[in-house]
């Protein structure tokens, strides 16, 4: 290997090491940004966990079990509400919220226009909201 070739090899070595080190710094920064707002579940005491889980209800004394039960019940209500819709309304809702398709994809699947899908979806959500409201009012009475 001539001297000139050796110099090229050294340049190559430095270039590769610099590129890798810089990429590594980028990855570290990215990871740090991601973990900045994360906390571990083990860091919380049981009291804190319960409080966090029941925060949305404004009830400090609710246990995790209670909270889960309430969540399941609420899901059941939601399920009933969706069941009460007609089939034309159910499909877009299911595709959108369960499978994560967007309006254009749903329009292609159901052979409708995008506008129509959007309108159906909004109307269905409105109907579900009304159903839940009425259901809750009945319960409270």
């Amino acid at each position: 290997m001539t001297d000139q070739e050796y110099i090229v090899c050294l340049q190559f070595d430095r270039y590769i090491r610099n590129a890798l080190a810089n990429r590594n710094i980028d990855l570290i920064r990215k990871a740090r940004k991601q973990t900045e707002n994360e906390t571990y579940l083990e860091d919380y005491s049981e009291y804190e966990l319960n409080r966090l889980l029941s925060e949305r209800n404004g009830n400090d004394r609710m246990s995790v079990g209670h909270r889960l039960q309430e969540e399941t019940l609420w899901n059941q209500e939601l399920y009933d509400a969706i069941e009460s819709l007609s089939e034309d309304y159910q499909d877009p809702i299911e595709y959108y919220y369960r499978y994560g398709f967007n309006d254009i994809e749903i329009a292609q699947i159901l052979n409708l226009s995008r506008k129509k899908v959007n309108r159906i979806r909004k109307k269905a959500v409105e109907t579900i909201r009304k159903y839940l409201q009425e259901h809750r009012d009945d319960k409270e009475e």
Binding site: Q4, C9, F12, Y15, I16, A19, L20, R23, L27, Y40
Partner: protein, 89 residues
């Protein structure tokens, strides 16, 4: 070039291997990857939290893969200048 001079030199990837790797020959690329494997493993070390709350240093496979991709890109992007002009493969 004397023997003594050769011994003093740093261990680098041979010139012809660099040229072949730049041209995209798999064996040459593998040779370059092997040369930088230990360096990548050192860079890719991350602290991982164990279940008992302590921290342990291990090689993060995702980071290692990212660095390997970067290595491939860098091999391709490296430009060789000899006698003040670009040597293009």
């Amino acid at each position: 070039m004397t023997k003594k001079n050769n011994e003093r030199r740093k261990k680098v990837v041979p010139f012809n291997v660099i040229l072949e790797a730049k041209a995209g020959i798999p064996e040459a690329i593998m040779a370059v990857v092997k040369h930088y494997e230990s360096f990548i493993n050192v860079l890719a070390q991350r602290e991982i939290r164990c279940s008992d709350g302590s921290y342990r240093k291990t090689v993060d496979p995702d980071v290692r893969d990212e660095l390997l991709i970067k290595l491939m890109q860098a091999i391709k992007a490296f430009k060789i200048y000899m006698n003040d002009h670009d040597v293009d493969i």
